[in-house]
Symmetry: C2
Subunit: 262 residues, 2 copies
DNA sequence: AATCCTATTTCCAAATAATGGAACTAAGTT
DNA sequence: AACTTAGTTCCATTATTTGGAAATAGGATT
């Protein structure tokens, strides 16, 4: 279900194809791409060749498959440095991670999803799949809900419209109504929890990172497992979490970090 | 000094502009880009608009500046997963890092440079700037030299021609002749060292990761500082380093990891 | 408040590049 | 040898890109 972009000419089409390859997530053959592609054979073929030339894709001769190129990894590092909260938040996250000894995530909202932009592991990490660059759902993660709770109605409804409300676990929120109720509670409390809503056994406490004008610029969370913590014991991190979020927000202001989100 | 790609039409031009923004490394204004761009005003303008539309760039209204977009961070995560050695090498690197308690880097050659694709920090990290996605010079890093040493002459001369031979420290190798001498020594020993050649005080021991056919697919290093280790004490890691590299090479074979490099 | 900058954005006819149906090639199958 | 399937190339038509120039916006200066 690739997003359709209107009217960006050839560049748009090429990036469309690139996205398709990214979404498939594993090396793909031409014919396989052709089946789901909205472009005719010759066009798709040429777009792939161009992307290959540009090192945005790489091609495996033996298997005749295309996959994303390393050039993207390089570019993304630059993007991460100049466009994410991570470099600004780095020292604060290090400190928080040291203090609490648990997994810490830094996230931003991107196109209605949670984009993790940094992560700190404790010395003995719990098994969990997340990394910088990974995206996750907003409606059933701690950071996602924390950020949504502090959006203005306009931005919020845009974000909500993009939620899939897939029931990952028995505890996943699966309707807009439930979600909005939860969000207003979060806004009151200033903090959100993930009570095994996305992954079984995984719980977290999160807070939004707000700019000086009160606009959402990111989210911060401390994650653990029910084998180690209860929601109640996670709640003890609340002061440190809020303090760190505040410091990051202030620092971001000093760096003129932009506030818009979608 | 952006790489010129000829003949990829509009897509090539757009990616060229994207690269330019990436290389500048900080938010840029239109006029600033225009000065160094090979495209006329209106063309550059439209290319930027297209990239904005596609979320490859983001625009700061107040400052009127362009920077790389978060979409790149998302795509790169996918690229990292499907095109780098990192996912394959992950368990082996974790284990090595645990055993030696030092910083471990996993790198690949990309366009004549060292591209770091993964990194493990010890519990008490030394101060050092490197991350997944970061690139570094090949001629003066442990992993760079280890990988170069095992290239065939054809690939090697291509890579050497791309080296800048900038003198980072008093110990940096600054000529092709010196480098080739060093590389043949490395090939004999099966291991390379970085003796403060890139950053003062930073030393490392590295080995190449070879495919079953003996072709270079990556490099692995254990890094430390002269405050903690001598070159001699780093050398004690040699067996573990070689063992890990071998295991990763074998695993990569099982996964059909491609062997080409430039 | 009028004028002059300078930076950014829009316009449009000419130039160029992209398109895609169809034909072709290569590699495997019956 | 005939047939299938997958990938690549061709080329006249069509659509997009191009870029000089003009318009606009936002300061700064008088």
């Amino acid at each position: 279900m690739a997003a359709e972009k209107r009217g960006d000419g050839t560049v748009g089409k090429a990036l469309d194809v690139l996205n398709e390859v990214a979404e498939i997530g594993s090396p793909v053959r031409f014919s396989s791409l052709l089946k789901t592609s909205k472009y005719p054979k010759a066009t798709l073929y040429r777009l792939l060749q161009t992307l290959l030339n540009q090192n945005m894709l790489s091609y495996n001769d033996e298997e005749q498959t295309y996959k994303l190129g390393l050039k993207l990894v390089r570019m993304a590092h630059a993007a991460w440095l100049q466009s994410s909260l991570a470099p600004i938040a780095l020292p604060f996250i290090d400190k928080l991670s040291d203090k609490v000894g648990e997994t810490v995530h830094l996230a931003q909202l991107d196109n209605g999803q949670v984009l993790y932009v940094d992560k700190r592991n404790p010395s003995s990490p719990i098994e969990m799949y997340s990394q910088a660059g990974k995206v996750g759902p907003a409606y059933c993660t701690g950071v996602g809900k924390a950020m949504m709770a502090f959006l203005d109605e306009d931005a919020l409804s845009r974000v909500i419209s993009k939620q899939a409300f897939f029931k990952y676990t028995d505890f996943t929120i699966t309707s807009e109504k439930e979600l909005r109720k939860e969000l207003s509670l979060i806004k009151k409390q200033g903090i959100s929890f993930d009570k095994q809503e996305h992954e079984a056994k995984i719980i977290c406490i999160s807070s939004p990172i707000l700019s000086s004008k009160g606009r959402v610029i990111g989210g911060l969370s401390i994650t653990s497992s029910i084998d180690i913590h209860s929601i109640e014991s996670l709640e003890e991190f609340k002061p440190q979490l809020l303090e760190t979020s505040k410091l990051i927000g202030k620092e971001a202001g000093a760096w003129n970090f932009p506030e818009q989100n979608n």
